[in-house]
């Protein structure tokens, strides 16, 4: 099985007021391509830091991060930005849409950054998939929270990422909207065969992934497989 994300002996420390603060301590794990996984843990356990390092948003203090066989810790910030653009999709708790761009333009940005042509139809198709085909010309402030997150989903899948990182994707949504968004995430993910890494408090959401890593105080305390089926296998099986 192909490994999409390989983490070895990863640590992250900060110097603060003359003291060293260890946020992540010697973390190692690997994720198979096309699988789904959750990182859970209480507030301040280091799960978002871990997500940031896995996605190449930050540099580790020590250890190795290998994304799609590329050693991120050897790259500079601009090279990591290119890796993100080529291989990574993001979903944030607070949606993080560009406020000055319309919904459609927000979806188009990752493709434009790649210098691709004729991207409008693909962006429109993605917006259609998340049920917002007719809202493409609206600015983020003109959309509800659920709608914003759906635009952000369309954007995350626009560059056909190998791996999708989602940071508390339902954290800012009500139960009903959350359910719809979660269904969309998993449906789109299954359809595209993308690897999904979820950071969440929500154990029910976590249980929908095939594997749950629990961290506390910067260390992995458990790494368990759930009964959820592998989306890829399910596809093959279907």
């Amino acid at each position: 099985m192909d490994i999409i994300l390989n983490i070895q002996n990863l640590s992250k420390t900060y110097e603060s007021g003359g003291r060293t603060l260890t946020v992540l301590d010697d973390i190692s794990f690997a994720i198979e391509a096309g699988s789904t996984m959750s990182i859970v843990g209480p507030s301040g356990s280091g799960k978002t830091t871990l997500l940031g390092l896995c996605a190449g948003l930050d540099r580790s203090s020590s250890g190795i991060v290998e994304l799609n066989h590329i050693r991120l810790d050897n790259l500079n910030e601009d090279q990591r930005a290119q890796v993100r653009n080529q291989h990574v999709g993001f979903i944030f708790q607070n949606f993080q849409l560009l406020p000055t761009l319309t919904a459609l333009e927000n979806v188009m940005v990752p493709l434009e950054l790649r210098g691709e042509k004729n991207i409008r139809p693909r962006a429109l198709e993605l917006l259609d998939k998340v049920g917002l085909a007719d809202r493409g010309h609206h600015y983020p402030t003109q959309l509800s929270g659920g709608e914003q997150q759906r635009v952000s989903l369309a954007r995350a899948f626009s560059n056909s990422p190998k791996i999708l990182f989602a940071d508390e994707p339902t954290g800012n949504l009500d139960a009903e909207t959350s359910e719809k968004v979660v269904k969309l995430i998993f449906d789109l993910n299954r359809e595209a065969g993308t690897t999904l890494v979820l950071v969440t408090h929500d154990l029910e959401l976590a249980s929908k992934t095939q594997r749950i890593i629990r961290i506390r105080g910067g260390s992995i305390v458990s790494d368990v497989k759930t009964l959820s089926e592998n989306p890829k296998r399910a596809d093959h099986g279907g």
Partner: protein, 856 residues
């Protein structure tokens, strides 16, 4: 897999995809356009001022070129202020195809009808001068007809002052002339020099009979020539130069007049351009502060872009394109406005201009303005813009423990350096003097650094000595000075710098006016009589005393030239490029006095004062200290003089310090008694008259008895000076208005932008139940503290700058009037508060959620 590994070999982002960058800059600006325009509005006026001045300068140059002929009135002018030597006469009488002769001198004239007397510039003219242009008179034919009989042309303001009409008469010296007409404009004359020395034309043939052309009178001889069009006058003049020099004659051609006129206006346009540049700099500080806050608000957008794969360069370029675009638009509006303002400059400056300005669009000036606006808006925006490169994608997850630093970046220092170099370079191009450029750049930098330091000090002090006992509203307003996202630095610098500039202008004007009025204080002489012949001295003194007036000072004056310094003549110094001072010393004329003691406005610096020359021993003279240094002589050095034909050797016996600000006769060079008593000389007398009536009565009596004696009524000089200062003041105020309005726009922009800093907080306070009144009070207090501190800082800085200028440039005291300063202080403070409150009204009148949705 191999394809995936490709990324490792790539060095950063390959192509920048400029089309996409332009598109993103365009998209991102869509919802911020009014704000971006606000940023840039502060440079519009600066650009407008510069484009107006550059256009004016270009048009002036063009018009000087076009009108140089009528400015001069002749192809060649030969002049001297000494009686023409016999041997030069044949040459002077044969040059050109047409010739005119003119003698000009200062003299009193008398209006018999009104009984008024006035010192004027008499021009006795023969021939058909001017050959180009005309002497403008009313009636029009008076400019020609006055030459035919005993008639005169009298300056139009004089006619008005003394209620005279054509047909009335005036007395010049011993002779009465009929007034042929009003003189509106003589060739090359400006409104400015007409008010200093009003002109009266008389025919040259009557000069002798006036009795004013005696030996020793200070008369300038002008010879005007017209040549056939094919003559190369410059070449001819050049070939005549040795002859002219030998006969001590100066000459001027149309070409040399063009150069001289152009040069004298360069100084003025340079000064105006510098004032415009200050307005632009002030605006740029506004741009920099606005962009700083704009970028701070864009941190999240930039972080998201970085997350999605944009390189730091791409993110930086998106905003650079935005700023450049809006800078260009601002410059275009400025250039358009400047071209419009240019129409008014000739009106504002009309009293100082020798030529008529034909206003036309100057594309060069517009191009200069556009380029300057673009460069300067980018340069100033770069300061906050370089921070874009450092914004981490981690900001999207809101867990960046290392705060995105907007200051600790070495590139920032490079930008600062480029900025300083640019200001330096631009100033140097404007004024062309290295020392003045350094002075100006240092002044701007010092102001900037002092205000920034003050802002930091305020923040530190406010935190250190926080008034815990104050009520909540006061504490909240006060704490806003140092809390995160505070605007202390930006507002103190921008408002402070604006205040400094406006206030300094005000103080300097005050210093200049004070300096003039101080010298005309009580118990000082206010009437100067000169051109007194030796044989008139006693009679004049008697007349003065008879009229109960004091003879405050009476000094003899001898005109002479210096022919050698330390045994070397002008020809020898000409070969020596270092000794320019000495050469100038040999080229001028000296008005010298002789006496046995020093006056109370003088003091010996070096050497020994010797008041009496012993027969057969060397003559020791005293030089003004600074002048001695300028011509490079020390105690004991030898000087040779030509006293109206007679050579005279003397040694430098002492150097003196002279207080030139005193109204009395002061001299660069003083001889001891016992040398010059028999030389041709005239005398100057100082007296003090108590009233205008007394002054008129005394002047009438003197003119009647001694028509050759001229009088200067210092009261009149002061009122003329006042008029000139008023006109100059208007020009300065006109230019300062650009800075003042720019300052106001910067203030509005700074405060308006700061609203975005406080909006979330105000909404939050509103949400948890703060009343409208409470939020108003907090906002008002914050802006009050900021406005008051910035205004006070600006005023203090202006006082310091003015004191330095008063002390070292104008050499006078500085005692600022406090009332206008207090008014300015309260005006700026209340403006800041008002604008601040006006901006926050949106927060107060609408539901919190609506505000957050629309504003953020």
């Amino acid at each position: 897999m191999a394809a995936d590994h490709k990324i490792l070999t790539m060095k950063g982002q390959g192509s920048l995809n400029y089309r996409w960058l332009l598109l993103m800059a365009w998209r991102d600006s869509r919802r911020n356009r009014s704000r971006l325009f606000l940023f840039i509005s502060s440079i519009i006026l600066g650009i407008a001022a510069l484009v107006a001045i550059y256009s004016f300068e270009n048009n002036l140059k063009k018009d000087i070129d076009l009108q140089a002929k009528s400015l001069m009135g002749a192809d060649l002018i030969i002049e001297t202020n000494k009686a023409v030597k016999e041997e030069a006469l044949p040459m002077l009488k044969t040059l050109g195809i047409e010739r005119s002769e003119e003698r000009t001198f200062a003299s009193m004239i008398y209006f018999p009808k009104s009984g008024g007397t006035r010192l004027v510039n008499v021009r006795a003219l023969s021939g058909e001068f001017p050959y180009y242009g005309d002497i403008e008179t009313s009636p029009k034919n008076a400019s020609r007809s006055f030459r035919l009989s005993k008639q005169a042309l009298v300056d139009k303001t004089l006619m008005l002052q003394y209620d005279a009409k054509p047909g009335d008469s005036i007395k010049v010296g011993e002779l009465v002339f009929q007034i042929a007409g009003l003189l509106n404009k003589a060739p090359g004359q400006t409104g400015f020099n007409a008010s200093v020395a009003p002109v009266v034309y008389i025919p040259l043939s009557y000069l002798q009979d006036t009795g004013l052309s005696q030996k020793g009178s200070r008369i300038t001889y002008n010879f005007y020539y017209k040549f056939s069009p094919e003559t190369d006058v410059d070449k001819l003049a050049k070939s005549l130069e040795p002859k002219l020099e030998k006969a001590e004659l100066d000459y001027e051609t149309i070409e040399s007049r063009k150069e001289n006129t152009g040069r004298s206006f360069e100084d003025m346009t340079e000064f105006l351009a510098l004032v415009g540049f200050i307005a632009l700099l002030l605006g740029c500080i506004g741009v920099a502060s606005a962009i700083h806050i704009y970028i701070r608000e864009k941190i999240n957008t930039i972080a998201v872009l970085r997350c999605l794969g944009a390189s730091s360069r791409q993110a930086f370029l998106i905003y650079l394109i935005q700023i450049a675009g809006i800078g260009l638009i601002g410059s275009m509006i400025g250039a358009f406005l400047g071209t419009g303002i240019q129409q008014f400059l000739p009106i504002v400056l009309k009293d100082f201009l020798p030529v008529e300005i034909n206003v036309s669009i100057s594309w060069i000036a517009i191009g200069q303005g556009l380029l300057l606006g673009l460069i300067i808006s980018i340069l100033f925006a770069l300061l906050p813009l370089v921070s874009v490169r450092n914004i981490s994608p981690l900001n999207t997850l809101r867990l960046s423990l290392e705060e995105t630093s907007l200051f600790k970046d070495p590139i920032k220092w490079l930008v600062y350096l480029i900025l300083v170099l640019f200001i330096f370079y631009f100033t140097y191009v404007q004024i062309g003097s290295l020392s003045k450029t350094i002075f100006f750049t240092m002044g701007v930098l010092t102001g900037f650094i002092a205000l920034a330091a003050l802002a930091y000090a305020i923040m530190w002090l406010a935190r250190r000595y926080f008034p815990l006992s104050w009520s909540y509203l006061w504490r909240q307003g006060f704490a806003n000075l140092f809390r995160p996202n505070n605007q202390t630095l930006i507002l103190v610098v921008s408002i402070g710098l604006g205040t400094t500039f406006i206030c300094t202008l005000f103080f300097v004007q005050d210093i200049l006016i004070n300096r003039v009025t101080r010298s005309s204080g009580k118990n000082q002489a206010n009437m100067v009589l000169f051109d007194i012949q030796t044989n008139q001295k006693q009679a004049l003194s008697d007349l003065t005393k008879r009229m109960d007036l004091p003879v405050l000072q009476e000094v003899p004056i001898v005109n002479m030239r210096m022919t050698e310094i330390k045994g070397r003549n002008a020809a020898s110094y000409k070969k020596d490029s270092v000794a320019l001072g000495a050469l100038r010393g040999l080229e001028r004329e000296y008005r010298v006095t002789y006496r046995d003691s020093l006056s109370d406005s003088e003091g010996i610096v070096d050497g020994k004062w010797i008041g009496k020359a012993e027969p057969g021993k060397p003559v020791y003279v005293s030089l003004e200290d600074a002048y001695a240094k300028r011509i490079g002589v020390k105690i004991g050095d030898e000087l040779t003089f030509n006293v109206q034909g007679a050579p005279l050797k003397a040694l430098v016996g002492s150097t003196r310090k002279v207080d030139w600000n005193r109204i009395q006769t002061n001299f660069i060079l003083i001889f001891p008694t016992g040398v010059l008593e028999d030389a041709p000389q005239f005398h100057v007398m100082l007296t003090q008259v108590s009233s205008n009536e007394m002054s008129a009565k005394y002047q009438q009596a003197v003119v009647k008895m001694f028509p050759n004696i001229s009088m200067i009524d210092l009261g009149l000089v002061l009122s003329v000076l006042d008029e000139i200062l008023d006109k100059l003041g208007f020009v300065i105020r006109f230019m300062a208005a650009f800075s003042i309005i720019t300052g106001l726009i910067v203030l509005i922009a700074s405060v308006l932008i700061s609203k975005y800093q406080r909006i979330r907080e105000s909404v939050l306070l509103r949400t948890i139940g703060a009343s409208r009144k409470q939020i108003l009070a907090i906002t008002a207090l914050e802006y009050f503290f900021l406005g008051a501190l910035a205004a006070a800082a600006g005023i203090i800085l202006a006082m310091l700058a003015s004191w330095v200028m008063a002390r070292f440039v104008f050499e006078t005291n500085f005692s600022p009037e406090l009332l206008p300063v207090l008014i300015l202080f309260s005006l700026i403070t209340s403006l800041t508060v008002l604008i601040g409150l006006f901006n926050s009204r949106g927060v107060l009148n609408r539901p919190p959620l609506e505000v957050l949705r629309s504003e953020v």
